[in-house]
């Protein structure tokens, strides 16, 4: 059944105001599907019933959070693509030798911070297992809105559950009440932020090279770029990597036809790119 324009307008305005994500005629069907998921998730028979409830008593905290979470569905989660974190923990960190300095990591599109915090948790888990390593993690994003949340390390009940096991939630987060809402939020403990810095950076504009990095995560950025922009970004990322450094892309992205500076490697299900020995000089 079609959802009325009035309902669509209400929810699309709310989502744009809160997240910056715009739903228009081109992607309105996505919003309609997500509203149907939302109604189902919250136990309503359909979107009209949800709407009627929201009209009569306003939007409750947990509903608002659920709407925003669904609006940004699959954008980011903790330990997204777990095989990448398996590679990081079991292959990259043990192999990475950086005498006299910490391991240097760049999360080039960190969004609301789940990726850098997942890496910080991985380092802590390694330390608990008797393999402590010092590291320096720079996390950047184009959006000040998402960086604000990343710096705060503050997540809704839904965000915190995406990809994060309860054992890690207990260890690395504390619960915090939100004024005027029955839904609590969860804040990253300060010790997890110790080696992280968050900065605004547009990958397509000139930037100061903060490398050399031992590994750069640039996941789910290239899929939104045209070929020339992809080449430009990859070439510049290569220039920030230490010799033999790794580039990690999103699961649906590849360097095929875009760069010959890297060797592709498969580690379990994780596909990563390693900078060739002579590539950095020409990058």
């Amino acid at each position: 059944m079609a959802i009325s324009p009035e309902i669509i307008k209400y929810f699309s305005s709310l989502i744009e105001r809160e997240t910056g994500i715009q739903y228009g005629p081109v992607n309105q069907h996505l919003l309609e599907n997500r509203l149907r998921d939302l109604a189902k998730t919250l136990g309503f028979a359909d979107v009209a019933m949800l709407w009627a409830e929201v009209q009569s008593r306003g939007l409750r905290g947990v509903e608002r959070d659920t709407i925003l979470d669904l609006a940004t569905n699959n954008e980011t989660s903790f330990f997204r693509d777990p095989e990448v974190f398996e590679f990081f923990k079991n292959v990259f960190v043990p192999q990475c030798t950086t005498p006299g300095r910490p391991i240097k990591i760049w999360c080039a599109a960190c969004s609301t911070g789940q990726e850098p915090y997942s890496l910080a948790m991985t380092f802590d888990q390694l330390a608990l297992a008797g393999m402590p390593r010092s590291y320096d993690l720079v996390a950047t994003d184009i959006s000040e809105r998402v960086l604000k949340q990343a710096r705060e390390g503050l997540y809704s009940q839904l965000e915190i559950q995406r990809g994060l096991a309860a054992t890690l939630l207990l260890r690395y987060f504390e619960q915090t009440a939100v004024e005027g809402s029955s839904a609590p939020k969860f804040r990253v403990k300060p010790e997890l932020k110790r080696s992280l810095s968050f900065q605004k950076l547009n990958l397509l504009e000139p930037w100061v090279n903060k490398g050399p990095f031992d590994i750069v995560f640039c996941r789910n950025v290239l899929i939104y770029q045209d070929v020339e922009s992809k080449k430009k970004i990859i070439s510049r990322l290569a220039g920030t990597l230490a010799p033999g450094g790794y580039l990690v892309l999103g699961g649906a992205e590849s360097l095929l036809g875009l760069s010959s500076d890297f060797d592709m490697q498969l580690h379990g299900k994780a596909c990563v790119y390693r900078l060739k020995a002579l590539a950095r000089a020409s990058a």
């Binding site: 189902k40 998730t41 659920t66 009940q157 839904l158 309860a166 207990l170």
Partner: protein
């Protein structure tokens, strides 16, 4: 694969059938902790994962949890409840839960957690 769903809400049962019904997972429903204990004690009973509500009549999920774990051994039990205090989560893990899902949850949250626990995707 077979999951045991322990929840006194018909709406939750219907929601989980909707979420997991197409994944080839067989779902068995019971309505409280005591029914769950009796089910897993029955001869020949086998299950790959238990989804366990907390607040239920007769015997609550948190009371049933250690009894279920004593019978099921390594078979994972995931708490699935609207109780969202850190102390509640800690108590459930202490009593043997493998993970904890706070209601309401989306399909991605539930299938993601189940996938992590079982080491295979559940669509």
């Amino acid at each position: 694969m077979k999951f045991l769903i322990v929840d006194d809400s018909r709406a939750v049962h219907a929601y989980l059938v909707d979420l997991l019904g197409g994944s080839g997972v067989a779902l068995q429903h019971v309505h409280n902790g005591e029914e769950a204990v009796q089910a897993v004690k029955s001869p020949g009973f086998g299950v790959d994962l238990v989804l366990l509500d907390w607040e239920m009549p007769v015997l609550s999920g948190i009371e049933a949890l250690p009894r279920l774990k004593a019978i099921l051994g390594a078979t994972p039990v995931v708490m699935m409840t609207s109780k969202n205090a850190m102390a509640d989560i800690a108590l459930a893990l202490e009593r043997g839960a493998s993970d904890y899902v706070i209601k309401p949850f989306t399909k991605e949250i539930l299938t993601g957690k189940i996938g992590q626990i079982l080491g295979r995707e559940v669509a």
